[in-house]
């Protein structure tokens, strides 16, 4: 379990899925998105407390595939930024 802090500012606030590098893992804290969409993500496995691993990404690093709850879901960076991780 390691989080990468690419920009220093992140070290203080909660890190998001977008801060993880390939093959890194984090634990979901909360989803900072409109309720409907957050609900949909939860149905797909983005549930608080679940572990999420970063898998492959499209060329250029966006969108990215996340492994969560036994399936692989691709999200754009702009969405991943709002999925916050538990501090280690």
């Amino acid at each position: 379990m390691q989080l990468s802090f690419k920009n220093g500012a992140r070290a203080n606030g909660p890190a998001s899925l977008a801060d993880l590098g390939e093959n890194e893992e984090g634990t979901l804290e909360r989803i900072d998105l409109p309720a409907d969409f957050a609900h949909r993500l939860m149905e797909l496995g983005f549930v608080p407390g679940h572990a999420i691993t970063v898998a492959h990404s499209a060329p250029g690093g966006d969108p990215r595939v996340f492994r969560v709850d036994g399936s692989e879901i691709a999200l754009r960076r702009e969405t991943a930024r709002h999925i916050l991780l538990r501090k280690q």
């Binding site: 969409f37 609900h39 949909r40 060329p59 691709a74 999200l75 969405t79």
Partner: protein, 626 residues
């Protein structure tokens, strides 16, 4: 659940409904769980596609193939993760299961298909379906995959936990299909129902699902090794885009080169059949109607069938294998530049063969505005119906010379230019639409990557059969109708009991009537007739011009070219090409847009916009080149 053999037909699930009349059983499950494969297994060719009233969601219904003359109708519902009526798909599933769908009674039974390789994620759906108290069979599909990856589950224990019979199945190999048939004929009893939590709260639901799967001795299968290995290539920073280009290139190459011999074959068969009809039928109005009207019109369209079926073969195989999701992922960033998303890529690619299937393929785009934008730009892609028109005019007006180097000739360059022109119009239109009337919040892009699978040839075959039938229907209705009307317009008023010279016919009058509108583009009334008839379908203009100039286009294409050269200047020819690149001359497309967008508004907007753009650009082209 195996202890219920004796009570077949009496304590059966479906007997809960109206016993003697036909029983309706709904198939429901999350996306990618194999619903359609199982549905195809059970119904084979006895299925039909229809839209639910008032929505654009399509559903398949079919009679199950059951021993002993049981009459069970199956309805295949859209893939959903839950029954909360948020999306249109979810609302449809919700309404059908609650008996609220007009024209469809409340199902007498439900087949709930879950993915055995990811049980805990899909069990919450089971809770909400089972709590409806409709007799339900829980099918754990992909059982072979689960076992292969070291997973296991005790179906008896799970049945007790859920209060519903559970079977392991593999719709692609046929495992468990007999059990499902037994359920449909009433051969599987339903255990005592249990209280299930229907929670709005997803984390609590998950917790319940985890407990249930633990009680049922569920061992989560290991990650799919092959999927990881293939993704290491297909989503590699270098090999990924490269294989993407190769796949797309191969599709194109096959559609345009590989389909040639097949198309030539169909063309030959059509001509042979026409010749036979001419020889057998007595000379007269009837023969003229059948051979020159009906058969030449329908035949001209039949020629495109191999191309369209090949495209569908590719799309189906790519989709069922799981590659399409990767392609959408790779294309997402590029599509985002024009305000669209990765899921728009496949429909737009399909539109190079035909806009009709492309527009139907936009159903995978959940965001409504993105979907409409994709529908609106799809007809700009150079569909195969434009090819015969382009080929004829290019051959008639552009001399075949070396253009760039020894390989690229002027004609090929002109054709490529027309493809680029259509593509540019699509991109610009998308940009304009997405920054104005169809502006939306940047779409949250969520795309599940299914594991790679070997496509089921049964499913692929059935899908192609479906498409072939739909295409033949179109050729048999729209095109046939237009051909007959055109034939009639060209044949009346009769002069001495014979068809009049074309300029004295109704068609000629019509052409002259629109001449003022098209004269600025360099077109005369004869081209005008072609433009009018090509409103039905673009390729019809070739046949029309053949009729007008009194020659058979198939036999004497050189003659038609010569005739065209007398009537059209070079600038006029360029204008005509540009006009065809942009104008919305396809009734089938308009009809499908109306169906998919649920009204005449968008097809009307599309028709007007594309027509205006075509006219203005053709005018500009005519001015520049003359």
């Amino acid at each position: 659940m195996g202890d219920c053999h004796e009570c077949a037909g009496s304590c059966a699930p479906a007997s809960a409904g109206t016993a003697a009349t036909h029983k309706l059983v709904a198939i429901i499950g999350p996306p990618n769980a194999g619903k359609s494969t199982l549905f195809n297994r059970l119904t084979g060719l006895r299925q039909k596609v229809a839209n639910f009233p008032g929505v654009t969601v399509e559903h398949h219904t079919g009679k199950a193939d059951l021993p002993g003359g049981h009459d069970v109708e199956l309805v295949d519902l859209p893939g959903v993760y839950s029954l909360h009526a948020r999306s249109e798909d979810e609302r449809v599933s919700h309404d059908v299961l609650h008996g609220k769908m007009p024209g469809l009674k409340r199902p007498d039974g439900v087949i709930l298909i879950l993915d055995a390789t990811n049980l805990s994620r899909h069990l919450p759906l089971a809770a909400s379906v089972l709590s409806l108290r409709i007799p339900t069979l829980v099918v754990l599909n992909m059982a072979d995959d689960m076992r292969q990856r070291g997973g296991a589950v005790d179906t008896g224990a799970l049945a007790d936990e859920l209060g519903a019979p559970v079977v392991l199945a593999s719709a692609s190999t046929g495992e468990g299909v007999e059990e499902v048939a037994r359920f449909l004929t009433g051969g599987i009893g339903v255990p005592k129902p249990v209280e299930l939590p229907v929670l709005q709260d997803v984390p609590a639901c998950r917790q319940w699902a985890r407990e249930v799967s633990r009680e049922a001795g569920y061992t989560h299968p290991a990650p799919p090794v092959w999927t990881r290995r293939l993704d290491a290539v297909f989503l590699h920073a270098v090999w990924g885009p490269l294989s993407f280009v190769l796949v797309v290139g191969a599709v194109f190459q096959t559609i345009f080169t590989g389909a040639r011999p097949l198309m030539d074959g169909v063309e030959w068969a059509v001509a042979a059949a026409g010749g036979l009809m001419r020889a057998v039928l007595p000379e007269g109005v009837l023969r003229s109607l059948l051979v020159d009207g009906v058969w030449s019109g329908v035949g001209a369209v039949l020629v495109f069938m191999p191309q369209i079926l090949l495209l569908f073969l590719f799309i189906t195989v790519l989709e069922d294998s799981g590659y399409l999701a990767r392609a959408a992922l790779i294309a997402d960033r590029t599509m985002a530049r024009v305000g669209l998303q990765g899921k728009s890529f496949i429909p737009l690619l399909s539109a190079y063969a035909c806009a009709v299937p492309a527009i139907m393929a936009t159903r995978t785009i959940e965001n409504k505005r993105d979907r409409i934008a994709t529908i609106l730009i799809a007809p700009f892609m150079t569909c195969s119906a434009r090819l015969p028109v382009y080929t004829l005019i290019i051959a008639a007006f552009i001399p075949d010379r070396q253009f760039i180097g020894p390989f690229v000739h002027t004609r090929a360059a002109a054709l490529m230019g027309l493809y680029v022109l259509g593509f540019a119009a699509a991109v610009l239109t998308a940009k304009v639409l997405k920054s104005s009337i169809l502006k939306s919040e940047r779409t949250p892009f969520v795309l599940e990557m299914p594991p790679y699978r070997v496509p089921s040839w049964r499913t692929v075959g059935l899908r192609l059969y479906d498409r072939a039938l739909a295409f033949l229907k179109r050729a048999g209705t729209v095109i046939l109708g237009v051909s007959v009307v055109l034939w009639a317009l060209a044949s009346i008023p009769l002069v001495d009991g014979k068809a009049p010279p074309i300029e004295q016919s109704l068609a000629g009058t019509l052409g002259r009537a629109i001449e003022p509108l098209i004269a600025p583009l360099g077109f005369n009334w004869k081209i005008g007739i072609g433009l009018v008839t090509s409103l039905a379908a673009r390729e019809v203009i070739v046949g029309t011009l053949g009729t007008i100039y009194g020659m058979e286009p198939d036999k004497d294409s050189a003659g038609l070219q010569a005739a065209l050269q007398k009537d059209l200047t070079f600038a006029g020819a360029v204008a005509l090409l540009v006009f065809f690149a942009f104008a919305m001359q396809c009734m089938s497309t308009l009809a499908v847009v109306r169906r998919e967008t649920g009204g005449w508004k968008w097809p009307a907007v599309q028709f007007a916009y594309m027509g205006a753009l075509a006219w203005l650009c053709a005018l500009a082209a005519y001015r520049v080149f003359s």
